[in-house]
């Protein structure tokens, strides 16, 4: 047999909305070709057949919120040659990491009459807090072009090309006029990681940071600009404490803007 063995891909889900792994199925034009190139060996959302490990590449969606998941992720790491997290849940803990700032028992009692039945940890943590991660793809949700880039890069043994600069650069690239300069709309673009293609400003709204912190960023000066534009302190805190609340630059800076409601 001359042909090399097809690389095996696995997709795993922890606490999440499924939006990131759905991005794989949203590659309508590439899906069937991809399935020929790589063996999609485990993708529970799409298949009843699962082939047990090891896997060449594991894509992991979701954050760790239960004791069982904390065990399972170690198992996943053990059977995966490369492990890539996809999306803000897996990379930063996701929106559900807002529990980290509150008492989770109180949270459970708001939603459930008998919180004792609910199996959950006090925190929602990113995958990298539990096992070594080879690459983290940003976004809530991830961008499907970037996902394809990551898969191709890993099966060909190279680093993915996903720039770590700010969303601002993407606005310049697509020729969107700055919403902050032109119309005074508060925008997180200057501190948010690129990857989406600067969607929000092209829809006349400010970026709300769903790709998490850029590699180089000055949150303090942007925060000042927001306050000068009349944004209440607490709103600055809340926008930092959302889909990437657990990403360290955001979680640290958010403390500077707490108000009486936090």
């Amino acid at each position: 047999m001359a042909a090399a063995r097809r690389k095996r891909l696995a997709v795993w889900k922890f606490a999440s909305c499924d939006g990131c792994q759905l991005s794989l199925l949203d590659c309508e034009d590439e899906l069937l070709a991809l399935a020929e190139q790589v063996e999609i060996a485990r993708f529970l959302e799409a298949s009843r057949a699962t082939i047990s490990g090891p896997y060449d590449l594991s894509l992991v969606e979701g954050s760790i919120t239960t004791a069982r998941d904390a065990e399972l992720i170690r198992e996943v790491r053990r059977v995966s040659r490369a492990l890539v997290t996809i999306g803000a849940c897996a990379t930063a803990g996701g929106i559900q990491a807002l529990r980290n700032f509150k008492d989770v028992r109180e949270f459970a009692s708001i939603v459930y009459a008998t919180p004792a039945y609910i199996a959950t940890l006090a925190t929602s943590t990113p995958i990298a807090a539990h096992v070594p991660v080879d690459f983290e793809l940003r976004g809530c949700p991830i961008n499907k072009r970037q996902l394809l880039e990551v898969i191709t890069a890993f099966i060909n043994g190279r680093r993915p090309d996903t720039p770590g600069h700010a969303v601002c650069i993407e606005c310049k690239q697509r020729g969107t006029i700055c919403v902050m300069v032109a119309r005074g709309v508060p925008c997180l673009g200057p501190i948010t990681h690129a990857g989406c293609g600067a969607i929000c400003p092209s829809f006349a709204r400010g970026c709300y940071g769903c790709y998490g912190p850029a590699d180089a960023l000055n949150i303090e000066s942007l925060g000042q600009a927001w306050l000068r534009a009349g944004v209440p302190r607490g709103d600055v805190m809340r926008v930092l404490r959302s889909f990437n609340a657990g990403a360290e630059p955001f979680s640290k800076a958010a403390l500077d803007y707490e108000d009486d409601q936090s």
Partner: protein, 427 residues
């Protein structure tokens, strides 16, 4: 008997488990356990500003984010006494059409059809029936194209806000969609014809169907909730008419009609309660496919989804022709202390939201009832009836049958698909 906790930790993978207990050949009880880890949205929404709610609640489900955005906008606009313009209503309908098409196509072609043709998944099915998968992806892509054009991206659109949209999409971009939608509509009609020839298990139950009823149109966003047993209420009366209960065996809450019990929402309920509001093209297609009216066979929900896909594509094409692409994209919204209620038809069924706000527009209390928890009891009842057949099957065959019965409901991808850890206990 095993305790729930041990059982739960003992499982290696999967977020769902089904336990059926028999005494002899008689089914004693059926428990469908959904252990999707809870994410506590209703709790952390407290203290957030009303303007953030559509973006946050979208993250409950990546397959139907538009539904969460629409129900939350509707409830918050009810609270804040905002009336959106007919233009905004039309744009929302168009966006919602896209989500139905995308979500239904995903379920029909990639998850449900392989059950009928005997494949473990769509990739395996594609080896023998490539045209079915290609057609499905084409339809799905058309739905996604609508959501992206109106909302900015397929998953968690960014253009939606309380009071309308950040901007009205550009005419040129929207007009480009027409040819793609027409082709997808043809593909959906063909797919319905093909799927109508599948073998459907002979299984019918007498459900209470619950859905919104539109004044004239097939329902997307609405205010009247009706059933085939005489329920006819406003969204604001939801909490009086329905009860949500926690059961020890599941993280999904169970809903019932107060005083009556299980009910069913989703495509079959909408179809049975609003058939004459479907676009004429979709009504004709349903008749040609010989879908009974009312349809009481949950396995036939596959065909009903195909009919709704035809409807949504046809409705989207109609909307493309009538929307004024220069109209204002939103109306002004001012915070005040208040309560509001809203409902819309997610691809999987009725999605109810309720909010209380303080005078600065912060959320004091939120309640969200997704279709999956409303249908969970009906799924268990279906399984109970099917369990009688399962005694005579091998364990693998019984698992396939149980999974199929659950998949009929498309109960959100994470717990919908191939997850079952089936335990059959005999006394």
């Amino acid at each position: 008997m095993k305790t729930i906790k041990v059982d739960y930790l003992a499982r290696v993978e999967g977020d769902g488990a089904l336990r059926i207990r028999f005494r002899g050949d008689h089914v004693r009880d059926v428990e469908l356990r959904i252990f999707e880890p809870p994410r506590f949205f209703e709790a952390f929404l407290r203290g957030r500003s009303f303007g953030e709610v559509p973006d946050i609640t979208a993250r409950i489900c990546g397959i139907c984010p538009v539904a969460y955005q629409m129900s939350s906008c509707r409830a918050l606009e009810d609270a804040l006494e905002v009336r959106v313009t007919p233009h905004i209503d039309q744009l929302r309908r168009l966006l919602y059409c896209g989500e139905w098409v995308e979500s239904h196509a995903l379920h029909m072609f990639l998850l449900h059809a392989p059950d009928f043709l005997g494949y473990p998944d769509a990739m395996a099915m594609a080896r023998d029936h490539r045209e079915i998968v290609v057609r499905g992806l084409q339809i799905k892509k058309a739905g996604n194209a609508i959501v992206s054009a109106v909302g900015g991206r397929e998953v968690h659109p960014v253009n939606v806000k309380v009071g309308g949209f950040y901007r009205t999409p550009a005419r040129e971009e929207m007009e480009k969609l027409a040819a793609q939608l027409e082709a997808a509509r043809d593909a959906a009609l063909e797919a319905l014809e093909r799927m109508a020839r599948f073998d459907f298990p002979d299984f019918n139950r007498d459900y209470e169907f619950v859905a919104l009823r539109g004044a004239e149109d097939y329902p997307f966003i609405g205010n009247r909730i009706v059933s085939n047993r005489g329920l006819d209420i406003e969204a604001a009366e939801y909490d009086q008419a329905f009860v949500e209960q926690q059961v020890p065996h599941s993280h999904a809450l169970h809903s019932t009609v107060r005083g009556r019990g299980a009910y069913l929402c989703g495509p079959m309920a909408r179809f049975n309660l609003n058939f004459e509001r479907l676009r004429p093209l979709a009504q004709d297609a349903a008749r040609r496919a010989r879908i009974p009216l009312p349809c009481r066979n949950p396995f036939m929900s596959l065909l009903v989804r195909a009919v709704e896909t035809v409807h949504a594509l046809d409705e989207a094409l109609r909307l493309l022709g009538v929307i004024d692409w220069s109209a204002e994209s939103s109306v002004a919204v001012r915070p005040r202390a208040c309560a509001g209620y809203g409902a819309s038809e997610a691809p999987r069924g009725l999605l109810y939201h309720r909010y209380h706000l303080d005078d600065s527009g912060r959320v004091l209390d939120a309640k969200i009832v997704p279709p999956t928890s409303q249908n969970q009891l009906s799924i268990e009842h279906d399984l109970r009836e099917l369990a009688a057949q399962m005694v005579r099957l091998t364990h693998d065959e019984a698992t396939v049958l149980a999974e199929r019965a659950i998949r009929n409901y498309d109960p959100c991808i994470s717990c919908a698909t191939h997850f079952l850890d089936l335990a059959i206990e005999r006394e």
